[in-house]
């Protein structure tokens, strides 16, 4: 019987697992990692939002400390990184919703969606910062 052959017969060679150090990095892999990294960055970045709200709920002098920090070079850099992580994660999330619905999983489209996440994340960040600096 076939089933007993499978149990007692010579072992069929097992499929090789991918060797990570020689595995070609694909854009979908890179964006999967970037989704996780941007999510972890937002986890810490939420402290900026908490600081902003606590400062605004306290007196004007406390808020001035936050204001001075966020307007400094380091503050702007952190806010820029936070906004990129937010937009990248947002678009990445929409990509996952499309995949969850069963669309865009085929070879050309899944790579295009991954590239769209990368480009869209940066584009949205630059557009929003442009609006922030232009509109007063």
């Amino acid at each position: 019987m076939a089933s007993s052959d499978a149990l007692t017969g010579p072992r069929r060679p097992r499929p090789m697992s991918p060797h990570l150090s020689i595995y070609r990095l694909t854009i979908t892999m890179a964006m999967s990692i970037a989704h996780r990294i941007s999510g972890a960055a937002l986890y810490l970045g939420v402290l900026l939002l908490a600081w902003f709200l606590i400062a605004a709920s306290a007196d004007a002098a406390t808020f001035a400390v936050f204001s001075e920090f966020i307007e400094s070079f380091i503050g702007r850099l952190m806010l820029f990184a936070f906004s990129w992580a937010l937009f990248h994660h947002l678009i990445g999330g929409i990509r996952h919703m499309i995949w969850d619905a069963g669309y865009g999983l085929d070879a050309p489209l899944r790579d295009q969606l991954a590239w769209a996440t990368l480009i869209g994340g940066f584009a949205l960040t630059i557009v929003v910062w442009g609006v922030g600096y232009a509109v007063r």
């Binding site: 986890y43 908490a50 709200l53 605004a56 808020f63 929409i94 007063r136």
Partner: protein, 129 residues
């Protein structure tokens, strides 16, 4: 082993919490619901922050003291923090094992709860002051 028929884990495996705890469905559901909710809420949040960008202390308090921006902010904070707590939980479970995992999971929950409380308290304080 008579009580083990519906559960193929060994008794030792069960006391070590190995295998499915059958609680994953709710977590998966919550992270998906919050992710869908966060799409419009993030757009609203960014809009609100752009609005507050060139205002001072009094301007920020006046804007966040209005009901619609405050409710939008509270919805963004609460769904965002539930989402990030679940997300960090899956990162911890992927990379950390043993006792460190237990501590990391507890720290994650405490951090998320503390940040949520701080943000909600501050937002309500602005609104009700």
């Amino acid at each position: 082993m008579a009580d083990n028929l519906g559960d193929l884990r060994t008794p030792l495996g069960r006391v070590r919490f190995l295998g499915s705890a059958r609680m994953g469905t709710n977590d998966a559901w919550l992270i998906h619901v919050t992710s869908v909710a966060l799409v419009p809420l993030t757009v609203g949040f960014v809009w609100l922050m752009l609005d507050l960008l060139h205002t001072d202390y009094n301007g920020v308090r006046a804007e966040l003291g209005r009901p619609v921006p405050a409710i939008l902010l509270l919805a963004f904070i609460l769904s965002g923090i539930v989402h990030m707590e679940l997300g960090m939980r899956s990162i911890i479970v992927d990379y950390i094992g043993g006792h460190s995992r237990t501590w990391a999971l507890a720290a994650n929950t405490c951090f998320a709860a503390l940040v949520a409380l701080a943000c909600v308290y501050a937002t309500l304080r602005i609104g009700f002051n």
